[in-house]
């Protein structure tokens, strides 16, 4: 120690000050008072700096007292032998005060450290309490630990085969040999890397996080606590988890650090509380807490996955039964109609043939719609559909969809009320939504009844609604109509596997919008969707003479 000269300068300055003050008061007061002044100076130095400067201040004080005040003054000679006793007392006081002050300072520092650790653990707990999947915890915890420990930290999670994958986060990446060391630490549930007995040549320190049964991950720290020069004394080499710590073997500061909850008795030497582990037990305790949370998250993931699988299984069978019904009905009609065409009875009327052909055509279109919807939904659910937003005038996207429906809309009056607005949306997917909404309105309203389509912009949202004059939605059904395979009371007589609105909702949600079904007080159903308007439309070129 002692590279920093400031404490020694402080000691010198304090003694000089005390001497100056002593010279002033010496005319009027006693020699004992001057001695007290020096004791005060020693105490001050001891509390402000370390033990070394305090002891230096004691010696200097004795020397200064002797030189300036003890007769014969301005020599180091001592006339009265009793003054030697004063010197001894001053030195003794200096020693005791310095030792006590040093101890208080150490305890304060450790207490502060401990408070910081408790706070860190508490806040980690709060971070973990937010829950979520292991990956979400991972990112949150990394960010938190990076801040709390002030060093690059990576939380590494193994895959199902127990392998760690390269990871980059917070500007630090882990791959190659370093990843191998992390894997080693995970496989053996033993700390490894820098500052440990195992593979100390690596740059990172890898602390395995072990759950109730299996290792759940590795905490990688890129720094070295152990090489810090101002480590508090009290740790013996190899004392702790095999960390190589060099410090003063004397003066233990037993502040009762609890050993970490996890440990591997065979490979790890027993944990002995000391001052130094205050630095190390923070990452260790964090790793322990983290391992429990990660294991919890993993178990929750597994449970959720199992539940999802069961739900998907259930859905698949529902879908299958519903779809097979919807596939069979038109197929049956088509087959029947074609056999009638191929083998007309003797009494067949001339108009029958055309009627049968029309039936076949209609049923085929129905089949096509169903298959398209199924494909669309599958693509939506598998995430194969990516929304490519472009700025499009409402008029154009509505116009394209209405144009495609002209044939079906023939006997209906369709009223369009469109604001002059541009909206960022995926034109292909949005056409899909509008086709489904119009198809739905046609299906659930009596033949010949009017249909209305309105759209506009309100604030940062575009809205669009399709209104039919059918029976509307049954109470309580407004939310359920968007569920896949939902078949409302009103759909009993209508074909369709209840996919159209589910597709609409999927697409609208992928756009960041909302979709709602409402029954209008004056009768009829209304589906309203909103789309967020973010950003500004691109600038347009001036339409000058080109």
């Amino acid at each position: 120690m002692g590279q920093d000269p400031r404490p020694l300068v402080t000691a010198l300055a304090a003694v000089a000050l005390a001497t100056a003050a002593g010279l002033i008061i010496f005319r009027r007061l006693d020699l004992a008072d001057v001695a007290m002044l020096y004791v005060l100076c020693i105490t001050a130095v001891a509390t402000r700096t370390g033990r070394g400067p305090a002891l230096l201040a004691s010696v200097l004080s004795v020397a200064a007292l002797d030189f300036f005040f003890i007769p014969p003054r301005f020599t180091f000679a001592v006339q009265d032998i009793r003054h030697v006793g004063t010197f001894a007392v001053m030195l003794g006081v200096g020693w005791v005060v310095a030792t006590l002050a040093e101890r208080i300072r150490t305890q304060t520092r450790l207490a502060l450290e401990r408070e910081r650790h408790t706070d860190a653990l508490y806040r980690l707990g709060a971070t973990l309490a937010e829950g979520g999947a292991a990956e979400a915890i991972q990112a949150r915890v990394e960010a938190y630990l990076r801040e709390a420990l002030g060093v690059p930290v990576l939380v590494l999670l193994p895959d199902r085969q127990g392998r760690l994958a390269p990871r980059t986060a917070g500007g630090r990446s882990l791959e190659g040999d370093e990843l191998g060391v992390a894997q080693w630490a995970l496989d053996r549930a033993t700390p490894a890397g820098r500052g440990t007995r195992h593979l100390p040549g690596s740059r990172g320190l890898f602390l395995p996080m072990v759950g109730a049964e299996t290792p759940v991950g590795v905490l990688a720290l890129f720094h070295d606590f152990t090489l810090q020069p101002d480590l508090p004394s009290g740790l013996r080499p190899n004392d702790l988890w095999g960390f190589q710590v060099h410090g003063d073997p004397g003066a233990p500061a037993p502040l009762g650090g609890e050993p970490p909850e996890r440990g591997d008795e065979q490979t790890v030497p027993p944990f002995r509380p000391g001052a130094a582990e205050a630095r190390l037990d923070l990452p260790l305790a964090l790793a322990a807490q983290l391992s429990l949370a990660l294991e919890r998250a993993r178990l929750a993931d597994e449970r959720a996955e199992a539940r999802l699988r069961a739900e998907q299984e259930q859905l698949r069978s529902t879908l299958l039964s519903s779809v097979s019904h919807d596939l069979r009905t038109p197929l049956g009609t088509i087959t029947g109609a074609t056999t009638a065409l191929l083998d007309p009875g003797p009494e067949a009327a001339p108009g029958d043939q055309r009627m049968l052909l029309l039936t076949i055509h209609q049923e085929s279109c129905r089949l096509e719609r169903l298959v398209n919807n199924l494909l669309e939904l599958t693509r939506l659910e598998s995430g194969a559909i990516r929304v490519k937003k472009e700025w499009v005038p409402l008029e154009e996207v509505v116009g394209a969809a209405v144009g495609r429906m002209e044939e079906q809309l023939e006997d209906r009056s369709l009223t369009l009320r469109l604001g002059d607005a541009w909206v960022p949306l995926d034109p292909v997917l949005m056409e899909q939504v509008l086709l489904n909404l119009l198809d739905n309105a046609l299906k659930f309203s009596p033949p010949g009844s009017p249909i209305e389509l309105e759209a506009g912009v309100r604030g940062q949202q575009a809205w669009l609604s399709v209104i039919d004059h059918g029976p509307g939605f049954a109470a309580g059904e407004e939310e359920a109509v968007f569920e896949k395979l939902h078949r409302g009371a009103r759909s009993a007589s209508v074909a369709g596997a209840g996919l159209g609105l589910a597709i609409c909702r999927g697409i609208i949600q992928a756009h960041g919008g909302t979709i709602q079904a409402v029954s209008r007080p004056q009768g009829g159903g209304r589906i309203i969707l909103t789309l967020p308007i973010e950003g500004v439309p691109p600038e347009l070129p001036a339409d000058g003479l080109s």
């Binding site: 085929s364 096509e368 398209n372 494909l375 669309e376 693509r379 472009e390 700025w391 499009v392 005038p393 008029e395 154009e396 996207v397 509505v398 116009g399 394209a400 209405v402 144009g403 369009l416 469109l418 034109p427 292909v428 949005m430 056409e431 439309p537 691109p538 347009l540 070129p541 339409d543 000058g544 003479l545 080109s546």
Partner: protein, 239 residues
């Protein structure tokens, strides 16, 4: 690039080469096309199609993009390397990327399965007419499409006899659409034709001028009869 002379077309009975792997669909196409006075030859694979094309020199090719032996797009690209024969691409729904790619490669139009016979025949006729125009290099100074009349010499446009005033960009866009009436043009093709390769030109420009054209030419811009949007692909002037 020098293209071989187009065959002297049998005006009454143009030859359609159908490259399609599904036999039932081939059968339907043959029946329909023959009923409308076309001659039909079939190929079930891309390789077979390539051979037939060289051997028969058809007037129009109906090409399915989903062929068993490789990509229909590759065949389209290959054909465009040495022939100007009109290509009509047939593809499944939701494959906008493929359609755009085929059109940008030089395919003349596309049909989305399933398609009706009316639509099929109309598209083939448009393609044949364009091929004949290109072969004759006779760019008509005046074109009339329904109520729309466009005089390229005087740059005048009228709708049902009434003159319509268009900005330069609107005129440019409409001119391209009218010259390719009935045919779908991708965003890229339109941008290239109207703005050249000006940096920054994007589909938004098209949408802006398309909207103002509709306002000037359509009775109800939200239900266009003339300027049709092909979502995700481009625009078409209905012939």
């Amino acid at each position: 690039m020098a293209f071989p002379e187009l065959p002297a077309m049998t005006q009454d009975h143009p030859l359609v080469l159908v490259v399609e792997d599904e036999a039932p669909l081939r059968r339907y196409l043959r029946a329909t096309l023959q009923a409308f006075g076309f001659r039909v030859e079939e190929a079930a694979t891309g390789a077979e199609g390539r051979n037939q094309l060289v051997r028969l020199n058809p007037d129009v090719v109906l090409l399915d993009l989903g062929l068993p032996d490789g990509d229909g797009l590759d065949l389209a690209r290959e054909i465009r390397g040495w022939s100007r024969v009109p290509i009509l691409v047939v593809s499944a729904r939701g494959k906008e990327e493929d359609k755009i790619q085929a059109l940008d490669l030089g395919a003349d139009d596309y049909l989305t399965k399933p398609f009706g016979s009316g639509e099929l025949v109309a598209r083939i006729r448009v393609a044949l007419r364009h091929a004949a125009e290109v072969a004759g290099s006779a760019i008509e100074p005046v074109l009339e499409i329904g109520p729309l009349r466009m005089d390229f010499a005087s740059r005048e446009v009228s709708l049902a006899g009434a003159p319509v005033h268009l900005s330069p960009n609107e005129y440019g866009l409409l001119a391209v659409l009218v010259r390719h009436a009935g045919k779908v043009l991708t965003h890229r093709q339109l941008l290239h034709e109207v703005w050249g390769d000006a940096a920054g030109a994007q589909p938004t420009y098209l949408r802006v001028y398309m909207a103002s054209l509709r306002r000037k030419l359509e009775a109800d811009p939200a239900r266009p009869r003339l300027l049709i949007t092909e979502p995700g692909v481009g625009y078409r002037l209905k012939a």
